[in-house]
Symmetry: C2
Subunit: 326 residues, 2 copies
Amino acid sequence: MKATAKAHTNIALIKYWGKRNEQLILPTNNSLSLTLDGFYTETTVHFRSDLAQDIFYLNDTVVTGEAYNRVTHFLNLVREQFGHKKLYADVRSVNAVPTAAGFASSASGFAALASASVKALGADVENDELSRLTRRGSGSACRSIYGGFVEWEKGTKEDGSDSFAVPIAPADHWDVRVAAAVLNPTEKKVSSRAGMKRTVDTSLFYQGWLDGIPQDLADIKAGIADRDFEKVGSIAEANCLRMHATTLGANPPFTYWNYLTMQVMETVRELREQGIPAYFTIDAGPNVKVLYLPENEARVEHALRELSGVNDVILSRAGGPVTYQN
Amino acid sequence: MKATAKAHTNIALIKYWGKRNEQLILPTNNSLSLTLDGFYTETTVHFRSDLAQDIFYLNDTVVTGEAYNRVTHFLNLVREQFGHKKLYADVRSVNAVPTAAGFASSASGFAALASASVKALGADVENDELSRLTRRGSGSACRSIYGGFVEWEKGTKEDGSDSFAVPIAPADHWDVRVAAAVLNPTEKKVSSRAGMKRTVDTSLFYQGWLDGIPQDLADIKAGIADRDFEKVGSIAEANCLRMHATTLGANPPFTYWNYLTMQVMETVRELREQGIPAYFTIDAGPNVKVLYLPENEARVEHALRELSGVNDVILSRAGGPVTYQN
C-alpha cells in the first residue's frame, strides 16, 4: 500500500488557456508541452488503515489549508475510482521546482501524487487513464505523465473521458533546452486560475485565441518532427503572445507582465538579431522561459544574467516520463 | 490667396486602428479624441501664380522627399476640389509638437494645412466638409478641426462622404489634462501605418477589437457628459490595451511597447492604488500619455519624472478648434 513516484514539470509551448468545465478541469483547447528534466516532484504515498484523515508533508513540513484540501480532494477521487473509500494516506512530497522560477509545481506535484497513489493501491492502469485521472488534480499535470513533447487532447465529451495527454516525441528525440529567468519577486495580482476564468468569461479576444490553436498545433508538430527550431520557437513565442493578449482584452483588463518581463523579451529578440535562435514563452506570471539549442547555452545564459532585474537563471534539458521507486 | 491657420494635435481615447479604404483613408471604426492645447502646428499657405511647383518649409527648412510628397498630394486634392488646378502654393509650417513626445504631428499638420489652403482659396466650407477633406491628408487629423472631445464617424459609404469628425464637447466643458512621458529614444521598428495594416490583415484579434468599439464609445460619451473621470479614464486605458493586444495577435506578432513603456504603465497603476485617479493611453509607439485632473498635476508629474527612463514630461490642457490669422 505504499509507492514512490517522480514526475517532472512541463512548459507549455501551446498554452492551456481556458476551461470548458471547471469541475472536471476540461480545457477549451489542446495544448502542447515539453517535459523538463530539471524540475520535478518526488512523492511517496502510503495508504494506512490507522489514519483518520490524510496527512500531507511538503519538503518535510505538514501542509494545511488550500493546498492540503486540493490533495485530499484528489485522493478522494482516487479512492472512489479504485474502491478504497475508507483508506487514508500519508503523503510525503519533495519539490525540486523552485517556486520563484514560476514553474507550475502543481504539474509535477499532481503527476507524482496520481502515479504514486495508483501504484500504492496496486491498480494496473494504462497511461491514458493515469493522465485522465491526473488532470482532475491540475490540468497541466496530465501532460507530465510523459516525457519530451506531449499534447493534451481537450476531448469533446461531457464526462471528460477523452481528455488526456498523448506523447508526441520522447525527450531523446531532440535536445531542446529551456532557461528560466527568475525575476526580482513581485506580488502576483491575479492567480492563473482566476485570470483564465476572467479571460474566458469576458475577453473580446477569447474567440481569436481559440481560432489560432489548430494551425499552431499542426505547425508545431511538423516542426518537432523535423527538429526545425526556428519553426517550433516562433510558433511557441507567437502562441504565448496571443495568450497574454487575451488578458488585455478582459474586463477589467489585466496583465501578468511587468517591466522586467518586457526586458527579457527584448533581450531574446536582440539575441535573434545577433543570429542566436532563442524564443521566449511566459505562463501566468512575470517570469520568462527561453528556448534555445545546446550550442547556444553559454550565450543565452550570459545575456539573461546580464540583466539587472534577473536574480537567477536556471537551465534545463528535456525530461522523461514518470518513474517509480520502491 | 494667402491664409494662416493654427491647429492642435489630439490624443485618441478610443483609438483609430484600421482602414477599410487605404486610398480614401476610411477607418474601420469610430474613434474619439481630446484636442490638446500644448501641441500645435501653424501653417501659412500662399497660392502664387509664379510658382512652377509647391514648396514646403517646416520650421524654416525646405522639406523634400516623402513628407513633401504627402503635402503636395494633399494640395492636389484641394486644387481639384476648388477648381484651381494650376496654382501652386508656398507652404510654411511651424510645428510646436515635439516629435520625441510621440504625438502625431501629422494630425495638427494636416488640419492646419487643410484649413489654411481652403481659406487662402477663399472657399467657404462647413466644418464637416473641412474635416472630410483633412481626413484625406491624415486620418486622425480630421478630428483636429474641432477643440475638446471629438468623434470621428467612420461612415459607411464607399466614397467616404459620411466619414468626418463631429464635436462632442468643447475644451471648456471639462478641464482634463494630459502628461506626455517622453522616453529614452528607441528605434521605431514598425510604423503606425504598416502596423495598422498588418494588424487588419493578419491579427486573430481584429474582430474582437471591432466588437468592443460601440460599447466603449457609448460609455465614454456618457462619461464625458457626466464629467466622470474614472469612467472616461478606465475606458480609454482599456481601449488602448485592446488596440495594443491586436498587434500581439498579428502574423508575425509585434509590439510598440518596450520595458520603459511598461514601467510607466506600472507607475500609473501605482498612482491609482495610492488614490490618485490617473489613466494611460499609448499610440503606435513606446511613449505613454497620462490622463489626470488638475488637482493631481504635481503628483502625476513627479511620479513620472522619478522614473529613470523618462527624459521629459510635457503637460497639456484641452485645446480649442482651428483658428485663423491674417
